[in-house]
Symmetry: C2
Subunit: 144 residues, 2 copies
């Protein structure tokens, strides 16, 4: 498997083991991980700490996002896709988009390359979480 | 002046006095402020802490954003507009859009009502900051 996605999945599993939403993310530049994160809505009681936001935050103030790729176990929502578009992240790699279609069209309309790896492990992890904790999941994506 | 925007401006001024990017934001529901925030990129060394993100974060896990309005001294960028769209915030009120056009069209395309108050005090505060600290401003919006 893609080694960067493997790391994002480990972040997601870590979040799941903490009782959080199992979505993980890594930011990559020149073949190297420069930031990692996971959804921490539950753990930090923070509505904006989606995995990709946590990841970009943990990468710090890198000034330029040129040449970076954002990996996420799930297709990014508008919040996280908005971050990618605003900061000029050129590529988004998602583990799956079956449980949540996210903002793929928006990303592509703004010139971001999007790859969907459609991985069974990501789909299964997310499907299980949504089945077991629908109230947290719908809160996370702002649906009532 | 609009009292909610007055409060957002006070947040921006507070950020400026801390050495930060002078943008402030409040989240309002049923005529009451339920969250306040300011850009704290510099203060917290955090690239995602735009004013609106800080504000939504400070409002906590409110579960539903129905009936909320997000005030910001500057037209929101894609990151913050993405948060508004994803969470279903119905209205965005901006202090100005002269120094930064932001993601107004994106917000409106997704059914968010956008009002631009075009306030001299907001324009002057932002213009002064961009003139004095262009490197921080362009870093904040992801431009090189």
């Amino acid at each position: 498997m893609d080694l960067f996605m493997k790391c994002a999945i480990e972040e997601a599993e870590c979040g799941r083991n903490e009782g959080g939403v199992p979505i993980g993310s890594v930011l990559v530049r020149e073949g190297r991980i420069i930031g990692k994160g996971r959804n921490r809505r539950v753990q930090q009681n923070d509505p904006v700490l989606h995995a990709e936001i946590d990841c970009i935050r943990n990468a710090g103030r890198i000034r330029s996002y040129r040449g970076t790729a954002l990996y996420s176990t799930l297709m990014p929502c508008y919040l996280c896709a908005g971050a990618a578009v605003q900061f000029g992240i050129g590529k988004v790699v998602a583990g799956e988009s079956e449980n949540f279609g996210g903002a793929r069209a928006f990303l592509e309309q703004h010139g971001v390359e999007v790859i969907d790896l459609d991985l069974a492990v990501c789909k299964e992890m997310m499907r299980t979480f949504i089945t077991e904790h629908p109230e947290i999941w719908y809160e996370d994506i702002g649906e009532e």
